[in-house]
Amino acid sequence: MKFSLEWLKDHLETDADTPTIAAKLNAIGIEVEGIEDPSERLSGFRVAEVLTAAPHPDADKLQVLTVDAGSGDPLTVVCGAPNARAGMKGVLGLPGAVVPANGMELRRSAIRGVESNGMMCSVRELELGDEHDGIIELPQDAPVGTSFADYRGASPVFDVAITPNRPDCMGVYGIARDLAAAGLGRLKPLAVPEVTASGECAIGIEIADTEGCPAFYGRTIRGVSNGSSPEWMQQRLLSAGQRPISAVVDITNYLMLAYGRPAHAYDLAKLSGPMVARRADEGETVEALNEKTYTLDKSMTVIADQRTVHDIAGIMGGEESGVTADTSDLLLEIAYFDPETIGRTGRRLGLTSDARTRFERGVDPAFLDEGMALLTGLIVDSCGGVPSQVTRAGEAPATPMQLAFDPDLTRRLGGVTVAADEQARILQSLDFGVTRGDAGWTVTVPPRRHDVEGPADLVEEVVRIHGIDRVGSVALPRAEGVARPVATPQQKMERRLRRAAAARGLHEAITWSFLPEEQAALFAEDGQALWVLDNPISEELKAMRPSLLPGLIAAAKRNADRGAAGTRLFELGRRYFRAADGSSDERQALGVVLAGEKSSRDWAAGRAQPFDAFDAKAAAMELLAEAGAPVDKLMVMGDAGAQFHPGQSATLRLGPRNVLARFGALHPALLGQFDLNGPAAAAEIFLDAIPARKGAATFARSVFEPPALQAISRDFAFLLPENVAARDLLRAVRGADKAAIVNARIFDQFTGQGVPEGQKSLAVEITLQPGAKSFTDAEIKATSDRVVKAAEKIGARLRG
């Protein structure tokens, strides 16, 4: 909301300068978002007198003027305005001045061969209004040579943000009241005019919808002449960013901006029969003043005559009965509308207006008669006419609330000690009634303060006016000693995992939680109903992700497009599912995507190496180990999902059901969907599936005793069917002698020459750990035989 200093001073008697006022506004909770000083915009423009005017020798429509701008010799100025003539006074822009309307800097230049030393300006060029038929004509007593800004009394304009709880400050008068309370001057009493009324209101005023419209006051004025509003009012409206339109429209706007009181004026000639505040009929339409047609429903309150709707109550009037320059008879409406109804109607229609903003937040229910009198007075002053009596239908809910208040609450809640007298003064200066008693105070809340509901609100009033900067810092009490750890095991695991992933070369990305619906569908689990937004910001950000991988794949694709040869990304975040009761089930996961080259071509290592499924496996295993999962016990089993290469992917499970992670090469068809070329591998770790670590309650590790004797190793080469997994061979071999064999490791896999079709050769190194005494040759032989026998049980045979 904007207003000029001059306007503020119409309500507030103060000597404070602009910065002081701005600082105080901020201090009391009216945030100053900007201050505009028109005198800066108008610098370089001066009051000037046209001494002579003669036709331009080479142009029919131009004149050559000599102009006295108060400094030295008269200046030659070329001017195209038809009203330019000798003896008039106007506004001259000197070279160097910047024309507010178009930002152009004026220069000394020749126009059709005649030098021009500036420009005589129109109203529009100085952004003082719309008029542009000629140059500004100032009164004859305007002092030549003074700066136009000074002459005009250009006043700084404050741009403030009013919080939604303070509709009473959505008028300059309300702001003046707050400033006065804060010690910045004296609030001038409201000058409500005595209206001399004659006769009854010429049209019936009725309420059918008492819920949506508790009060509706009407008055007719006959015989107005709707010309321009007075200059001072136009200046104020312009300072507020409102374009002057006509006297009646300007005056209703002025009432709203000055007093926070919306009103509406109808052209009486366009109305037939009583005006009724009622619910709209389903499907009823109205063309509003913004020239758009709205279809209404029966939840909305309207003002209608016998024929049609004339006003979307409290939001916007109808075009048909709007006042025009020809209007001679008016119906004025001052009403109190239910804030909830206004808000709901506005949201449904998608229609905002200054009136809605105020009614929705709550106007002053005790200001209907004053509002009507002020409105009438201003109209009669400007437009003449004979006002009728006011017809009052209904009553606004203006019974003041009373609150019990303990002034000590200001200290207990606000943290600042304010003397009781000062607290009472502050509240009274904001129109609160204060009755001080032994058992606490009774505070009467002015009806305009819809925001004040309890004692904490009164503390806020006292503290903000007293000065929030006077609240001292008080340290939070802290427990004795070093701070106790507060992180949960889950939080510690996540922090550790994130840094472990970064330490192994992965960049942490944060990608959108929402995806294009088709991408989310690609990763949905069987039967999963996705969370899909009703009102997405775009189709790209629509469905909540069921996996971290699609976002990372899309990011890898963007990196590839930027020329990255290889991309290693991870993200630690949530996947979104549904709980049985319909609430959200959000599960933490860590996704890894490895795309493109693992290592680039290299003078030593040769060709570039792409990422493959084993890179994803390594990431999954190492990170699971960091997360505290029992990696020794994990089983590698198939079925990583349709997103993966069917032959190069697997899950890591504890038991058949508990999937801790999946990994592998991504399916080429999936990569095609993301438009990502070349192989890519991925892993996804489901943090919610990792069992809590047992024994994490103590710091001491289990005892370590190094074996006394050196371990020995033996190598075996087995032939076995191609479809037997290496894991099965290792498990069989390790089981051959659980006491002696401490490790078994595949160090070679071979197919081809020398290996029969359908078979493969696996070479295994077995580590034997002697206990108290060394193995004898016979013992080693016996163990070796058991190893071979165990391998044979799964279809392997020792290679000759």
């Binding site: 909770g29 100053v32 503290v463 070369g505 944060i510 939680s513 969370w531 909540m544």
Partner: protein, 379 residues
């Protein structure tokens, strides 16, 4: 015996002249082998008289020792020379690149969240989380924003078509949480007072332009106890911001404001000044320059936080008795704090996953914030 001297001189000359280990070994055999000339000479000792042996023995032994020593010395020299030759042939161009271990990074948002968790842990605050897909009761109603509240419309909420049936016949609309404040409600209801918590996490608003993304991060703070007041809030904010920015000259300006869930409500501005052509947080703004949105100046205020004393209605909604319990809450943008501290200027880049950006603005895995080392990681 002159021939011994002669023999020594010959042997020494031949050993010195040998130019390979093979040649040297042949000489060793020729002198010292079983049939070597010196070995044969040694054998003559047995046939000598004791007197002769007395005088010749030491001479011959000396000869044998000298020659053996000379052979060993020559062998060392030849081996050394051979090694030198081999090493010379093994020279590498060490300006060639070495194999690189890929470098990863921690995202600035995670880093800042860790920093904040560390600072608040010292003040006794635990970290709490809650769902991002919320019902509108937790996101709005319980926070004193009933359906018709204008502030609710100002939240640019993302809605789901889904509803949650909440026991007593009440049907709640599912939304993406617009702030981390519902975690306040959930924690108060689940754990009860007293409480000191922070709740960092993702939040969502239907808003997208140069400085807004539809997803961003907030951190919420909540303290509930019997006698917590506005002064404690002020101290907590000053303390945390000083620790976070690691500057003692952090200046805050508190302004009364409005949030439905706090009363009184306070908006917090932080003073900024120019350092090396950049806006930095810290220092006291020029009192005449910075008040009213002056952007071109050398100092000013910027909004960083919303806060206030928890509204009694919020306490009631969470099942707490406002006559017994009171406290404060605050909320701020994590991404914003990261930008102010670490100098990023484009919020949208936070969520793009550009490896170049992550490499530039991300943090080493070992930049784990600690109080003893200072929570921040310097450039």
């Amino acid at each position: 015996m002159a021939d011994i001297d002669q023999l020594r001189a010959d042997a020494m000359a031949q050993i010195a002249a040998s130019d390979s280990l093979e040649a040297l070994d042949q000489l060793r055999v020729a002198f010292l082998g079983k049939q070597g000339s010196i070995s044969l000479l040694m054998k003559t000792l047995g046939k000598m008289s004791p007197e002769e042996r007395q005088s010749e023995g030491p001479r011959l032994n000396g000869l044998r020792g000298d020659v053996a020593e000379a052979v060993a010395a020559r062998k060392d020299a030849l081996e050394q020379a051979a090694l030198d030759v081999r090493l010379a042939s093994e020279r590498l161009d060490l300006s060639l690149p070495a194999p690189e271990t890929p470098q990863g990074s921690v995202h600035p948002v995670s880093q800042v969240m860790d920093e904040l968790a560390e600072i608040f842990a010292d003040l006794g605050f635990a970290v709490k989380t809650g769902p991002e897909i919320e019902d509108d009761w937790h996101n709005f109603t319980a926070l004193n924003m009933p359906e018709s509240h204008p502030a609710r419309a100002m939240h640019d909420t993302f809605y789901f078509p889904d509803r949650l049936e909440a026991g007593d016949g009440e049907s709640r609309r599912m939304v993406l949480r617009t702030h981390t404040s519902p975690v306040q409600i959930r924690t108060m209801m689940a754990e009860g007072p007293p409480l000191r918590i922070i709740a960092p996490g993702r939040v969502y608003r239907s808003d997208s332009d140069a400085t807004h993304t539809p997803m961003f991060h907030q951190i919420e703070g909540l303290v509930i106890d019997r006698d917590i007041h506005l002064g404690h809030l002020k101290w907590t904010l000053e303390t945390f911001l000083k620790a976070f920015f690691e500057r003692d000259d952090i200046v805050l300006r508190l302004r009364p404001s409005y949030f439905p869930f706090t009363e009184p409500s306070v908006e917090v501005d932080i003073g900024w000044t120019m350092e090396n052509g950049r806006r930095v947080v810290g220092g006291s703004p020029d009192p005449d320059g910075g008040d009213a949105g002056v952007n071109g100046g050398a100092s000013g205020w910027m909004e960083v936080l919303g806060s206030g004393m928890v509204n009694a209605r919020v306490l009631e909604a969470a099942g707490l008795d406002p006559a017994e319990w009171q406290g404060f809450a605050f909320g701020t943008g994590v991404d914003r704090l990261a930008m102010l501290k670490y100098g990023m200027n484009d919020l949208r880049a936070f969520f793009d996953g550009d490896a170049r950006w992550l490499h530039h603005y991300g943090f080493s895995a070992f930049d784990q914030p600690t109080l003893s080392g200072g929570v921040g990681a310097r450039a």
